[in-house]
Symmetry: C2
Subunit: 236 residues, 2 copies
Amino acid sequence: MIKYEMIANKIRQRIQDGVYLADSLIPDQVSLAKEFKVSRMTVKKAMDVLAFEGLIFRKRGSGTYVKKTALKNGLNANLMEYEGLTQQLSGHEVKSQVISFTVEFPDDFIKETLMLDKHDPVYKIIRLRTVDGDPYIIEHTFMSVKCIPGLSEEALDTSVYQYIHNELGLQFGGAYRKIHAAKSSEYDQEYLGCAVDDPVLEVEQVVHLEDGTPFEYSRSRNRYDKRSYTVVDLQK
Amino acid sequence: MIKYEMIANKIRQRIQDGVYLADSLIPDQVSLAKEFKVSRMTVKKAMDVLAFEGLIFRKRGSGTYVKKTALKNGLNANLMEYEGLTQQLSGHEVKSQVISFTVEFPDDFIKETLMLDKHDPVYKIIRLRTVDGDPYIIEHTFMSVKCIPGLSEEALDTSVYQYIHNELGLQFGGAYRKIHAAKSSEYDQEYLGCAVDDPVLEVEQVVHLEDGTPFEYSRSRNRYDKRSYTVVDLQK
DNA sequence: CAGTGGTCTAGACCACTTT
DNA sequence: AAGTGGTCTAGACCACTGA
């Protein structure tokens, strides 16, 4: 439907198919505009998309090149976004076991973090995530009831994010994450089945809606031998 | 010089100054185009910049709004990019102590990771980074000599990245990072001065040039009680 | 239905690189 | 000097929102 996306898709396909080789020039914008029968601005916008994805880079006066790493990091880099554990480990049996699901009034920290009034209740969720039966992550989540009404244990079993997006029609606006190493607590050891001297990888995050409203604060403690956190920095 | 950047700067300033309030509408693109005496496309491009920075969001048919979190996360979020430790902790005395600086031929892993021939030498650098005299990070770095010729101990004392950018005139193309928790080794304990049962936060990274050439592989082991890794996800 | 932002055009000028 | 990508214009049409 949208022209510049269709052109971006076609060029991306050509890179993937080796029509345009890594580390070499691709046709100039004027030629591509002629080929696709669009204006040059539209071609440029398609190129902006591919540059954003890290597939190409441009040198003014010189031309547009395919990056050396286009095929290696390229296509899946975008899919590696944080969509929960479910999407990341396809081919394995990923399960969520709800250990507790309650509602309470927020303490001062949660109240400030989620920009709530002290009388606004929050869900408090503790979930154990297992892969092929082995415990990987124990996750403590606080979510604003005001933002996310009608959350049920059923939605927890599948994907909370799908519930928010599909059922409530809300858009995400991003997240702020802090990653630590920590000593495992007895609680971690019990649920993750890790040794007393095993550390854990803790990911603390605040997730926002499109308008900036923070709706979730969570801390997930990951078995250090099973999980790492990856970041792709595309130097925008 | 560039119009859309100047307009973006002015609008950003107005958000910062409270002329445009958080969680409320800003003037439509046609009005702004008239005010700044430019075409609407140019205003839109300025808005694209601010949307990318997470300051505003747009709803087709409705208007352009300032995000609730514009002031809180907004301006510094972009500066928080990875520029080494030096920029992150201003006001403290950050020092780099070079523990070893040698050149050798790459092992198989480094050869593959940096896309080298087995006869291409690499720098091997071990540095201890201290803040106000306290050890924070021990960093093992491998850099391609072919990519970064003429690296000296002098450049290590200040900033390797500045040397690459200013002296060699090379552009960065981003990085791929993997963050783990790990048990501290005797080596860590010696240099970081941490206890036997202290974990470390390990950041493993491959840094690329603009054209995709990987020029650095490094593993930095951080004192778990002093350092964490933060990620801002703007949901592009 | 009026107003909003998103897309697209055809053409212009500019900054820059390469020959 | 020729060719590249970046910016900008004035105007058009579209999809969507909200009164």
